[in-house]
Amino acid sequence: MRRLRLPFLLIRLTVVLSLLMGCRAEELSPAAEGTVVPAYGDTLIMGTIGDASNLLPPLASDASSTAITSLVYNGLVRYDKDLQIEGDLAQSWDISADGREITFHLRRDVRWHDGAPFTSADVLFTYQLMIDPATPTAYAEQYRQVSKAEAPDPYTFRVRYDKPLAAALPSWALDICPKHLLEGQDVTTSPLCRAPVGTGPFRFISWQPGEMIVLERNEDYYEGAAYLRRVLYRVIPDSTTMFLELQSGGLDTMGLTPLQFARQTETPAFGRRFNKYRYPAFAYTYLGYNLRKPLFQDKRVRQAISHAIDKQELIDGVLLGLGQPANGPYVPGSWPHNPQVKDYAFDPARAAALLEEAGWIDRDGDGVRERDGKPLRFVILTNQGNDQRIKAGEIIQRRLAEVGMDVRLRVIEWASFLKEFIYPGKFDATLLGWTVPIDPDGYNVWHSSKTGPGELNIIGFNNARVDALLEQGRRSLDQDRRQQIYWQLQEILAEEVPYTFLFVPDSLPVVARRFHGIEQAPAGIQHNLIRWFVPQAQQRYLR
């Protein structure tokens, strides 16, 4: 039961798992709707692996904290259930013809949880907070691109950029903070870090550190009050305990592991009490090649490895079939994903042929290919604490041995993994995962300027055409144009194989059956939390 520190990647992954769920909607046990009458009341109890750390949005960067702040605060815009931008605190917005200026028209009927009216001054204040060097936030970068921000009247907010920026509009999904409670204070010691005051559908009630956080519905919410009276987050650090709590009735919802989903929840008794859901997560796992190493500078070697790996076998073995093959950095079914991109089918014969073409031949008959007297040997590095990656690594190791490669697998603690191996470029190949942001901009991962220590192009990928496409993609505001750009990007990546894309896992949430009104969409199930309800007769928590 080692619960190792979840690396940042994983933490982001869980945010994505829990909040922004995928596309291939497949509701397994549809609840009979229509006959049940919505009713107010009852409590939804959720589990979280780690306690929240800070509930002031600019300072909240972990999954547990953002899960809470997303219910307590609103942005100017948000992603709807189909992952398209829609208005939130902004009723509408205009983008100037040159694409460099956005004018937001704010709602006039919004109040903070303490009763004060929400105005454009709060938005301007939040923007200033984000770019203030004294604010220790990791998300300031995109707000620095703003050349001018102003609030001409209480319900208008305008920002101007030097260049058109595709990510400009979505960046205003930023949670807006109350100026009247934060102005002139050191935000890092503000009481709002422990007791947030927002505009969202749920109000903060209490936080018992390490135990639970209690939220109650905001009766004055601009979209109408939520049906559920309370939402409660219980901190349960162990996923097995969480599963036992779910069964004993101490939790109403959690994300299942593939093993729990496939093997431990198939009983009729479980089905009578819970509904299971399944859709692709916004994340993928890949095998990345250090392109600075001579071995991997030959494209044919990378292609050969891709042909030697059986992705379906990985999905069946590691995810118990609960996932799908990946062939690019986007989730299948989302608009940036190119469905026609070249895929590397499992074909050991083709892999062997490619290796021979590249000069790697087993001359001494020991089962390992050589070239110029050097054996074809490398190490796959991955981080400790992620069993799926370790299992995938073992399966890949065996498949590569079959085509004459001597591959070792090394598992290293996360901090050393990054500092000693990945950032200094001291690795051959690495098994890692990325979460997929809703906006397809992959500049930080693929652009040749991002190969420095600590930057995210860890494999040293350098391709002039990809660089050009990435630059165009971030400057274009037209979705069709961007789709073309990112489809081309995927074609180049498929040909060049800097990564072998392995699989996209499924999100596997489960919710107690008494909750109705759940609607599964590309964004997952939580997008309409305020419309979830429990029929009067089935309510469990009356106060």
Binding site: F8, R194, P237, L244, S248, L418
Partner: protein, 324 residues
């Protein structure tokens, strides 16, 4: 005696400084920094941001300067502010976790003593008989059982299947609505499984120790004398043997003092108990230096204090020590 105590207390100061210096250096040697959680693998975080965050935490200073700053604060009993996202005073974070940790540890030590002392005595008196062999087996099974495994089995059976005890946590959801007595009962109800599990693993040590002490004492001449006087076996065991056999336990209890604030991360994670073990573990994983150092200092202080208390307690209880 007073002189002895003062000398011992003064000697603790350089010892504590040495411990903290070594801990400070070692913890900084580990790869990774507190800023990593915010900046690593985060496409939004630029190099300049990392430098700014490091400067905010004072991590850009040489290590010895950082240590000096830390010691200067410590002298004023200020443990500093946590480097984690919440930036709360380290002392507050420790204090809110202490009561439940101490409560569980006290209950579990109490339960261990309650069971282990009679077990040890009876085993010694029935040496190599069936009872002795069975208890030996039992306590070593307890010692060898992984606590997470036992916990999960108990939770599944008593929590999910029978529904007798709550699976995890220390309070019910409606705790705030209960009366004061019900609140205590509620907590007690939640603590049954955790205390049982943590005591089960600790039985072996104490009961074996008690058994060997008892065996040693039983063979002494004064026991022979007591028996020769015609005292009943009950009186011989309880008045003459037991008292002397209990003496070494004082040392053992003294050594358990630092354990009172320690918790096991595995155990606390499984039962979702917000205790010190989890706090320390998370602190280490996040490289939250002030928090780690705060807990280490308290732990080191309690260890030294426990040793002192054990020595003093032993002297008070045993005239032979006092005279020498």
């Amino acid at each position: 005696m007073l002189f002895y105590l003062t000398r011992r207390l003064l000697l603790m100061v350089p010892l504590l400084l040495g411990i903290t210096l070594i801990s400070f250096v070692v913890i900084h040697l580990a790869p990774g920094e507190p800023t990593d959680l915010q900046t690593e693998m985060n496409p939004e975080a630029g190099t300049e941001l990392k430098e700014r965050l490091r400067a905010q935490y004072g991590l850009d200073q040489p290590l010895l300067v950082q240590y000096a700053v830390w010691v200067k604060r410590l002298v004023r009993l200020d443990f500093g502010t946590s480097f984690s996202q919440d930036r709360r005073p380290v002392w507050d974070k420790i204090v809110e976790r202490l009561p439940v940790t101490i409560l569980i540890n006290l209950l579990s030590i109490g339960l261990i003593l309650l069971v282990a002392i009679p077990l040890g005595i009876l085993s010694a008196l029935r040496r190599h008989r069936l009872f002795d062999r069975l208890t030996t087996l039992l306590v070593f099974v307890g010692f060898a059982t992984p606590s997470f495994w036992l916990s999960l089995l108990l939770m599944d059976h008593f929590g999910v299947y029978l529904g007798w005890f709550p699976v995890s946590g220390i309070k019910s959801l409606g705790h705030a609505y209960l009366g004061p007595v019900e609140q205590w009962l509620d907590v007690a109800h939640h603590l049954v499984l955790p205390v049982l599990v943590s005591a089960f693993g600790g039985l072996a040590g104490f009961s074996r120790y008690m058994r060997s002490n008892m065996l040693e004492v039983i063979g002494q001449d004064y026991i022979l004398t007591a028996r020769a006087k015609g005292l009943s076996e009950r009186l011989v065991v309880l008045r003459h043997a037991l008292r002397n056999a209990l003496l070494p336990l004082i040392t053992l209890l003294g050594l358990s003092v630092p354990g009172l604030i320690g918790g096991s991360v595995i155990f606390e994670s499984i039962f979702a108990i917000p205790g010190m073990g989890k706090l320390f573990y998370d602190g280490v994983m996040m490289r939250d230096y002030p928090l780690i150092m705060g807990i280490l200092v308290i732990g080191a202080f309690l260890t030294l204090l426990g040793n002192l208390l054990a020595d003093v307690g032993y002297a008070l209880a045993d005239p032979r020590i006092r005279q020498s």
